[in-house]
């Protein structure tokens, strides 16, 4: 395998869109995050940059390091407060950020979400590469990436763990599969989903943090103090665009709840903590009892 080329100015700069989602931090849902009725208290969970998407951002920045002039655009779809994701992208090295936000997108499953993202990517125009995390921790479906790829008619490479080589109009990466790895060469344009085993995202850059601290969407600006309003007016790069249904020319029947084939029939919460230790013998009956309880409380199986 050839080593990655040093910065190569002859290569065509790429326009890369990174799909990033703001998610509740479900990784440490402890008993304190449960309401008395046993449901999850989403309100007290902090929101974070979806972990896999940070790896996708790192992937994009590594490509930008190799090909001068490459643009990295962080795209997030979500409620108004998801603008945090765009700012976080700026702090770490993204060139542009964009929000897609509209109440009418609410209730979307992965099919409706991928349609919305695909329409946005088409609207951005001339995109060479779309990178996203393999999955978001609030759903763990790993579906939005491949479904977006289908809708923009890009080939897809999932579970990317390492950038191996970058050439003119082609890219070679290592994929992490259930039982091994695969090295694939893909043409550009392409959509890739990036695994949690990809290099960790670089930290925030102090200069960029200062530069983009006051980046705001119009919705946010409306509630800000005057000096921030003036600042954003003077420095257009602080203005985070916020696109709605009309901006991306989406069909209402394909977005939000209406565009989502999958619906929730029932939700059961999982009991987080058994009260007291059960002491069991090593007999098959005792073990069956325990395994049965673990299965019925959905801890395993």
């Amino acid at each position: 395998m050839c080593p990655i080329n040093k910065k190569n100015n002859r290569m065509k700069p790429l326009k890369i869109v990174v799909l990033a989602k703001q998610v509740p931090d479900t990784r440490n849902v402890g008993p304190d995050a449960m309401k008395p009725d046993g449901t999850v208290n989403r309100g007290i969970l902090p929101t974070i940059f979806n972990p896999d998407d940070l790896h996708a951002l790192e992937f994009a920045l590594q490509i930008k390091d190799k090909i001068e002039g490459t643009q990295v655009i962080v795209l997030t779809m979500g409620p108004k407060r998801a603008a945090d994701i765009v700012r976080e992208g700026y702090y770490r090295g993204a060139d542009y950020g964009l929000m897609v936000s509209d109440r009418r997108f609410g209730g979307a499953d992965t099919l409706a979400t991928s349609y919305t993202l695909a329409m946005t990517i088409k609207k951005i125009g001339d995109v060479d590469m779309v990178l996203a995390g393999v999955q978001a921790i609030d759903g763990d479906t790993a579906q939005t990436g491949p479904q977006t790829a289908e809708k923009i008619n890009f080939p897809q490479v999932t579970y990317v763990e390492e950038l191996i080589d970058l050439g003119n109009n082609e890219i070679t990466v290592k994929r992490r599969l259930d039982k091994g790895i695969e090295i694939v060469k893909a043409p550009i344009p392409v959509l890739m989903t990036v695994n949690g085993t990809f290099d960790k995202c670089r930290s925030r850059n102090a200069k960029k943090l200062l530069k983009y601290k006051y980046a705001r969407t119009d919705t946010e600006l409306a509630r800000e103090e005057d000096f921030i309003k003036e600042l954003v007016e003077q420095r257009s790069y602080l203005h985070i665009p916020e696109w709605n249904v009309e901006d991306i020319e989406a069909e209402l029947s394909k977005i939000g709840l209406a565009g989502s084939p999958t619906k929730v029939n029932k939700v059961e919460s999982i009991v987080m903590k058994a009260s007291e230790a059960k002491i069991l013998s090593d007999s098959q009956e005792d073990i069956d009892l325990m395994v049965g309880e673990l299965i019925s409380s959905h801890v395993i199986g």
């Binding site: 479900t26 990784r27 440490n28 849902v29 402890g30 008993p31 449960m34 499953d109 099919l111 991928s114 609030d138 759903g139 763990d140 479906t141 790993a142 579906q143 491949p146 790829a149 809708k151 080939p155 999932t158 992490r176 599969l177 039982k179 091994g180 790895i181 695969e182 090295i183 694939v184 060469k185 893909a186 085993t197 084939p261 999958t262 619906k263 929730v264 029939n265 029932k266 939700v267 059961e268 919460s269 999982i270 987080m272 903590k273 058994a274 230790a277 059960k278 002491i279 069991l280 013998s281 090593d282 098959q284 073990i287 069956d288 395994v291 673990l294 299965i295 959905h298 395993i300 199986g301």
Partner: protein, 340 residues
């Protein structure tokens, strides 16, 4: 809903893989409840003995494409063929394994067909759904049941208006069982000639081989951990087998690492990593504070120990007093017996 139950069968070196056989068994039961047929789609190279492999699981129809271009798996090629068959035959339910292939293929196909897809199901049932807004009751839907929200809830997902109802299913949660060893399937050969073209082969697989994944205990939902009490490196094989079955990772106490039973990166505790899995199964771990500091926030703890008074038992939810070399095989057996 009309239509049959379809299962996408993954092949590896000409053999249909376990998860697909589990799905055929599960699909057989669903087809039985719905009083419809079970059909399989099998793509691969050198799979002419396919009837011998899968008919016995109660498959009525096998759609097969046996072609050297179908190995290795390529997303665009497979999704084109699978979408074509599903679009032509209009099934009511389609199942895929939640493997690296299934989770790559199913969403692409679902997007092509504009239908619903539920990921990573652990249970499948047939049932009714009352739509609250319209008061319409939909009969005999696929109830796709899956953990969500970091495993803290179980969600039942339905799709009544954009067929087919598709789901990916985790490996090891359905039981693989022969339905009738003399069962006969009808074979339908898929004609690839007008279906796939050069542009579906734009992605090139340069290399593929087995390689252990980097250990990432912090994000493991289930951890099977062993201590000095496991006794030897060889005895850890049993822990790995058990962990594989549960989709868990293997870790250990400092004593086990120092004894050379496990790699350093698997050490849990004060000088290793701190973990908070949904389930922590401690095997032959006494529970020194240096170890428990790294795992006592696990949501559920099972301790398997010969010593009833081992300190770890104080923070455990279940304590099994016994030899892990006897207990683990019994747990494996019990899991196979009780999993759906």
């Amino acid at each position: 809903m009309d239509g049959n139950v379809f299962v996408f069968c993954e092949t590896d070196n000409g053999k249909v893989v376990d998860i697909s056989l589990e799905l055929l068994s599960s699909g057989r039961k669903l087809a039985g409840k719905l009083n419809c047929k079970l059909e399989a789609i099998v793509l691969g190279n050198d799979i002419s003995d396919i009837e011998k492999q899968i008919s016995k699981y109660g498959v009525d129809t096998i759609h097969i494409a046996d072609d050297s271009r179908l190995d290795p798996y390529l997303t665009l090629v497979y999704s084109k063929i699978v979408s074509y068959v599903l679009d032509k035959d209009q099934p009511q339910i389609v199942l895929f394994g939640a493997s690296s292939i299934g989770r790559d293929l199913a969403p692409r196909v679902a997007s092509t067909l504009q239908c619903g897809l539920t990921a990573d199901c652990t249970r499948l049932e047939i049932g009714d759904h009352l739509e609250r807004k319209t008061k319409v009751e939909y009969k005999d839907l696929l109830l796709a049941i899956r953990p969500a929200f970091g495993g803290s809830i179980m969600a039942t997902i339905v799709n009544w208006d954009m067929p087919p109802q598709m789901a990916t299913v985790r490996e090891g949660v359905m039981k693989k069982e022969v339905f009738d060893k003399n069962y006969k399937s009808e074979i339908i050969n898929i004609d690839l000639s007008d279906l796939i073209s050069d542009e579906d082969f734009v992605i090139e697989v340069l290399e593929r081989h087995m390689e252990e994944s980097k250990v990432n205990l912090k994000e493991a939902p289930i951890i099977v951990a062993g201590g000095y009490g496991v006794g030897s490196k060889e005895n850890f094989d049993l822990l790995y087998e058990f962990a594989d079955m549960l989709g868990a990772d293997v870790g250990g106490s400092r004593a086990a690492i120092d004894a050379g039973f496990l790699e350093n990166e698997r050490q849990i505790g004060q000088t290793g990593v701190t973990v908070r899995p949904k389930l922590y199964i401690a095997c032959g771990i006494s529970g020194a504070i240096q170890h428990t500091a790294g795992m006592d926030e696990s949501a559920m703890i099972v301790s398997i120990n010969k010593d009833k008074n081992a300190p770890i038992n104080k923070i455990a939810d279940y304590v099994i007093v016994g030899d892990l070399n006897e207990v683990l095989p019994k747990m494996i057996k019990s899991f196979h017996k009780q999993a759906q």
